[in-house]
């Protein structure tokens, strides 16, 4: 064993490189190069096929003077925080309700969870049909019960279109918090819950004083994941509002697409991407620290 060990060590490195070279190659093309290149391009003025012109921080200065981009920041905040708050609080509440009868609520959990398994493109389309401006839109029809003949173009108004986005994105996003929080609640020791039950605690107080505080680890992960996903959102916005009406519902992640891929302002779009990247990194600091510390 002692004699064999050095020979093993010697052959370790070449073998390791052989095994990870394909991964490194693909990772470099798909992640490292785009990351560096996006940052580099954000300092250039590039329009279509013409040669890039160095402009320093010019793109960033233009961004923050651009009223469309400023509106993008508040849209991003409302969309990200709104979607996360709604989806996590609903998912968490449902998870605690389900914990009282895990087996009998399984089919119901599957139903809510299935929304999470539907392509974002498809759920966007579903919400378009739910919010149809005519009488065949379910929402208009429900309001029509109270005020006959009601019809409203929900996606045609800047404010309601943004909230429609939040609702549609939350609808899909509840699945993961439900799953994570449910696992956290299930992990609570049965004896703690039984003791509370014996003492005559009502379900609501069991939820409030035992399940809520003890499921916080799962909730924290759910909040992080949903924040990250909402910040990076693209598909649902593209389908449901296309950033409209008149660019009122563009988040930063959508704005960069619009500027770079439809207006061909690649440098300007890259600068917006860098802003998105900074936002994502800020949200991810705890996760990055945790992962880096755990990388042995």
């Amino acid at each position: 064993m002692a004699l064999a060990a050095p020979r093993w060590r010697l052959r370790d490195a070449p073998a390791a490189w052989l095994l990870i070279i394909p991964v490194l190659a693909l990772f470099s093309v798909a992640v490292v190069y785009p990351l560096i290149e996006t940052i580099r391009l954000s300092f250039f003025d590039i329009k279509g096929l013409s040669a890039p012109k160095y402009v320093g921080f010019g793109n960033y200065l233009t961004l923050f003077a651009d009223p469309t981009f400023r509106n993008t920041i508040s849209t991003t905040l409302i969309f990200t925080l709104g979607t996360t708050a709604i989806s996590v609080s609903i998912g968490w509440t449902l998870a605690m309700l389900c914990a009282f009868a895990p087996r009998r609520t399984l089919p119901f959990r599957m139903m809510v969870f299935s929304a999470f398994g539907i392509s974002e493109t498809v759920s966007g389309y579903m919400w378009i049909s739910m919010l149809r401006p005519d009488q065949a839109g379910l929402l208009n029809n429900l309001i029509g019960i109270f005020s006959p003949g009601f019809s409203y173009a929900w996606l045609g108004d800047a404010d309601t279109a943004l909230w429609a986005l939040v609702v549609a994105a939350s609808w899909s996003a509840v699945g993961l918090p439900l799953l994570l929080c449910f696992a956290s609640v299930q992990a609570i020791s049965k004896s703690v819950l039984e003791a509370a039950y014996m003492d005559g605690a009502k379900p609501l107080s069991i939820m409030r004083f035992i399940m809520m505080p003890l499921s916080l680890p799962g909730v924290r992960v759910a909040i992080f994941i949903n924040l990250l996903n909402a910040l990076r959102a693209f598909d649902i916005i593209f389908i449901l509002t296309g950033g409209g009406p008149v660019r009122a519902t563009e988040t930063v992640g959508y704005f960069m697409y619009r500027e770079s891929m439809t207006q061909f302002k690649l440098g300007y779009g890259a600068a917006a991407t860098v802003i998105l990247l900074i936002a994502v990194l800020i949200v991810s600091i705890p996760a990055i620290i945790q992962r880096t510390a755990g990388a042995k």
């Binding site: 390791a16 490292v32 309700l97 959990r109 389309y125």
Partner: protein
């Protein structure tokens, strides 16, 4: 179960979950009733006729068959590549010693936070200069490259509990590092590899942004649906069929493999909880 479950919690959950699937029921019902009946709302019961007319016509109205095949190829190849390359790298990172191992690992597993928006401008320029726009590789390469950030983390986490004795035994039997991987580690790592495959398949099947930008002639289902979804046509029945076809495969896989999905999704974005 805690003592006797209070009935109202189940009732609340049942009501919420029924409300939750209303949009799904909506497009299914719209797809199997004639357009004339649903023009005032798919829930109306004045007259109910069952028809598969839209399901038959949709194939000639939209290029769905072709898109389905394209989607299957893109998702299939990307999934296979990720499943093939991830375990080898995770094994090397976990069991082998080489210079720069920890730095590379930290860079790769932290890349999971990156939004896909970061890749679109540089790769658009690169593919354009290389003449690779409209080539399947232009989306498969970023699909696979981006997946390593979470897939290697997931498999390496699994390897942390891998019995060291087995590795030592293989060494004593004269196995080199690659033979150890092939005969000892790989056969015992199939469950996380499978979880990686499911996540990657769902992600690539549903992807809209990259194929929309880099592919022109053969596009996958989400891109076709995106093109017709927002139009002002009144063919709600045809579009509902297209939506159901787009999401049918991933939804079925998602529901069957929930367990693997749950284990995997936690590793893709969270820590080990």
């Amino acid at each position: 179960m805690i003592g006797r479950a209070p009935r109202w919690t189940i009732v609340v959950m049942a009501v919420v979950s029924l409300i939750w699937i209303v949009p799904i029921i909506g497009i299914v019902v719209t797809s199997i009733r004639p357009l004339s009946e649903t023009s005032l709302g798919w829930w109306r019961l004045d007259q109910v006729t069952f028809t598969l007319d839209a399901w038959q016509r949709v194939w000639s109205e939209y290029p769905l068959a072709n898109a389905f095949w394209t989607t299957a190829q893109l998702a299939g190849i990307s999934t296979l590549l990720t499943m093939l390359l991830t375990p080898a790298a995770a094994y090397a990172f976990h069991f082998l010693h080489f210079v720069g191992r920890r730095v590379l690992l930290i860079v790769i597993i932290n890349a999971f936070v990156l939004p896909q928006q970061v890749v679109i401008i540089p790769l658009f320029r690169l593919w354009r200069d290389l003449g690779m726009i409209d080539n399947f590789a232009s989306v498969i390469i970023p699909y696979v490259g981006l997946s390593f950030a979470w897939s290697i983390f997931l498999v390496k986490n699994f390897l942390e509990d891998f019995p060291k004795d087995l590795i030592e035994a293989a060494k004593i039997d004269g196995c080199g590092p690659i033979a150890t991987f092939q005969h000892v580690v790989l056969p015992n790592t199939l469950s996380p590899i499978f979880a990686v495959g499911i996540l990657q398949f769902l992600w690539t099947w549903n992807a809209l942004l990259l194929p929309m930008l880099y592919l022109r002639s053969d596009v996958p289902l989400p891109v076709v649906l995106a093109r017709v979804a927002g139009t002002y046509d009144l063919n709600w029945d045809l579009r509902s069929v297209a939506a159901i076809i787009t999401t049918s495969v991933p939804l079925v896989i998602f529901l069957i493999f929930q367990r693997q999905f749950a284990a995997g999704s936690r590793a893709t974005t969270g820590g080990k909880e």
